[in-house]
């Protein structure tokens, strides 16, 4: 199983990834926690969610995360896909999940997930990562926490510079 980095206010830790991504035309494995596509959850959502395992959905860059709105309370996680690290659409998906749709579950970055983007990912409310560059939790944590200050309010809830008590 692949490494998963979980990022919280207390830092990053490596844990086992319990979820299996199920390709659309494959059968769902018995008893495993699964991640499926948006189209699959739309088609088979009720059956999958009633099966007793934890269910997550993977959102591709071109897909509208708003389509998940009604299902979100029943999902264990939402995976936002980065087919290439340069494709920044998942940052909007993650931001909307947190700020507009009020999702408090795990938002996981999958695909071309590199330490150099750790900072912007965590700021957009992504709190779990399947790194493609072999990053350790410590390396990830250092990259994500590099800046002592931030200039704008974002999904991570950090206090922006303009609200810091020391602002002059």
């Amino acid at each position: 199983m692949s490494t998963l980095i979980k990022y919280t206010a207390n830092g990053a830790t490596e844990i086992e990834n319990a979820f299996v991504f199920v390709v659309d035309d494959e059968a769902v494995p018995q008893g495993a926690d699964i991640i499926v596509s948006l189209s699959r959850i739309k088609a088979d959502g009720e059956a999958l969610l009633a099966s007793g395992v934890r269910v997550g959905v993977q959102i591709e860059p071109a897909e509208a995360v708003e389509d998940l709105a009604e299902l979100l309370p029943r999902l264990a996680l939402v995976a936002v896909a980065f087919p290439k690290f340069r494709d920044g659409r998942a940052y909007t998906s993650a931001t909307l999940l947190r700020q507009r749709l009020g999702f408090n579950g795990e938002v996981r970055a999958v695909g071309d997930v590199l330490r150099e983007q750790a900072y912007v990912m965590t700021r957009c409310g992504i709190d779990a990562f399947v790194p493609a560059d072999g990053s350790s939790a410590a390396e990830w944590s250092r990259a994500a926490g590099h800046f002592r200050h931030v200039y704008q309010a974002a999904a991570d809830g950090r206090t922006p510079a303009f609200s810091e008590p020391g602002r002059r």
Partner: protein, 552 residues
């Protein structure tokens, strides 16, 4: 002038450390060039023909004395002795070694400068009026809003990997000195009927291979709602902008394909869902920023300085300089001085370290320590006492910076072209120089009046040729450099895209062709018409006939 506090300084220091770490990982082979490229670009580092180029951000074109001195030091220490001011109010150093880049960024950070987001597919430096805070024409100080945008856009987590680069301009006067209508977003400050402050929002302007003039999607955006509205525009673009073809990835293509009305509707719909309390800047922060731009040190002076009037009457050269390079200040007894970086034998926009040192000294003595950069690649000393103008003129002349040609035919915008740039098809600098040489007679240049020539060495249009009154585009035709002329462009408040004059010319034919275009204008012009006005009245034909007369 906005002063960085401990928070801003710690941010720059963190950024510099982060990049030093990334460079060491790249040099150790832990990052591929593909992975490193966007990181170095977002720190202003390009790989060019001969070396790395470092583009240093000059936020909305505003510099202080210590910053100019530091730029001079960098030019001398790490470059071949000069820097190149760009059409986006930044400065570039063309001879940088990758291993020096982290040290240079540290040296910049010590004087509150950086290279953050001067390249890459992110929100770039905000363009603003180089006369901000000095001209009586402005509705409000555009630097206040530009600084708010600088902070908001700096390492914006959602908008750091956009489909393509993104440029915002803020203009506050009827006379647009920012080229707002050829920016991704142009913001024009307006007063509402009730006296409140707002912005006209124009989107989708741009140059490159498919030029567009920006279209208004909001006539009056309340100024305090600026950041939430920008968030809405950027979010619609980040989601819907094309990512399959970099030549179709700018917002102008999205706006053009949807139509401005539909794009505006989508923005409005998105904007309505944004929590204003989170997204808009609190009034207290706006007030803090505004207070930073209150100009101290302006004295109460008589509106006219007798010593200055006597000096300009006695000294023809000073008189000419004043006619062309000096404008009214909002405060009686003061003037705004444009400093041309377009001497006839110089590279447009270049300044060597002696000149940069001199500018810093002169600004310290005569301009309350304030220096501005224009998008037309010149400098401005915005707060000069009229009585100091003769001494300032002598000081500028001593280092070759008193060229009296602002807005005249030799005040040419040119990109670095094939002399430096890996993308260029043709040289731009020698063509600019050949035109300037042809109009070296200052009386004739003044007779011709305002004439904006803009030269790009390739279709990417960094030299803004589309919006030149006369635009010149270098193209490669079977291994030879050719130049395509366009007429009738403008990047100002009367923005328009130039139209092609006719078949391409070789390098030697360009300056004579410009000469002929000017002769037609001088013969045809009526009253106070500029070249552009005459062209718009009489059309292309007389100009075309004059240039291609030998071809018949």
């Amino acid at each position: 002038m906005y002063r960085y506090d401990a928070i801003d300084k710690e941010f720059l220091s963190d950024r510099s450390n982060e990049f030093r770490h990334q460079v060491s990982r790249r040099l150790a082979g832990e990052l591929s060039e593909d992975q490193f490229k966007p990181l170095r670009l977002m720190n202003g580092l390009y790989l060019q023909l001969h070396a790395y180029m470092l583009r240093v951000c000059i936020p909305y074109g505003t510099l202080n004395v210590a910053q100019v001195r530091r730029l001079a030091w960098i030019a001398r220490t790490y470059d071949k002795g000069y820097g190149h001011f760009t059409t986006r109010q930044n400065i570039q150093f063309h001879w940088i070694k990758l291993r020096d880049a982290p040290d240079i960024l540290d040296a910049l950070a010590e004087v509150d400068l950086h290279a953050i987001q001067t390249s890459g597919n992110c929100i770039r430096n905000t363009t603003s009026d180089p006369r901000a805070g000095a001209t009586a024409e402005e509705i409000d100080d555009p630097r206040v809003w530009s600084e708010a945008i600088r902070q908001w856009s700096t390492l914006h987590p959602e908008f750091s990997y956009l489909p393509r680069k993104f440029k915002i301009a803020v203009t506050a006067s009827a006379k647009d000195r920012t080229a707002a209508r050829v920016h991704d977003i142009g913001l024009a400050l307006r007063r509402g009927r009730d006296g409140t402050l707002g912005f006209e929002v124009m989107v989708g302007g741009g140059m490159g291979r498919t030029p567009f003039i920006g279209q208004t999607i909001k006539e009056f955006l309340p100024a305090t709602r600026l950041l939430s509205y920008l968030e809405a525009v950027l979010r619609v673009y980040n989601r819907a902008g094309r990512r399959d073809n970099i030549y179709k990835a700018r917002i102008k293509i999205l706006v053009s394909s949807l139509g401005a009305e539909e794009f505006g509707r989508q923005v409005q719909e998105e904007w309505a869902q944004i929590d204003a309390a989170r997204a808009d800047l609190p009034d207290t922060e706006l007030a803090r920023i505004r207070a930073a731009f209150i100009q101290p040190g302006l004295e109460v002076l008589p509106a006219v300085s007798d010593s200055y009037e006597a000096a300009r009457a006695a000294n023809r050269a000073l008189g000419r300089f004043v006619r062309n390079n000096v404008s009214a200040h909002k405060t009686p007894g003061y003037a705004i001085v444009d400093v041309s970086l377009k001497a006839h034998d110089a590279t447009p926009g270049d300044a060597n370290f002696d000149q940069l040192e001199a500018i810093a000294d002169l600004a310290e003595r005569f301009s309350l320590g304030d220096i501005r950069v224009t998008h037309e690649q010149n400098l401005v000393l915005p707060h000069v006492k009229q009585s100091d103008l003769p001494a300032l003129f002598e000081g500028l002349a001593a280092v070759g910076l008193a060229t009296p040609n602002i807005n005249l035919v030799s005040d040419i915008i040119a990109c670095p072209g094939l002399d430096y740039c890996a993308l260029a098809n043709a040289r731009a600098i020698p063509v600019a120089q050949s035109i300037a040489q042809r109009f070296v007679d200052a009386d004739r240049a003044e007779l011709v009046g305002e004439l904006k020539i803009k030269i790009s060495g390739c279709i990417n249009a960094c030299g803004h040729h589309h919006v030149g009154h006369i635009g010149i585009l270098g193209v490669d035709k079977k291994g030879e450099e050719y130049y395509q002329l366009t007429l009738g462009g403008s990047g100002a408040e009367d923005a328009s895209i130039g139209k092609i004059l006719g078949p391409g010319l070789n390098a030697d034919q360009v300056a004579p062709a410009v000469d002929r275009l000017v002769e037609v204008y001088l013969a045809e012009r009526q009253g106070e018409e500029r070249f552009l006005d005459t062209y718009r009245r009489i059309g292309m034909t007389p100009f075309k006939e004059a240039v291609y007369v030998d071809a018949h």
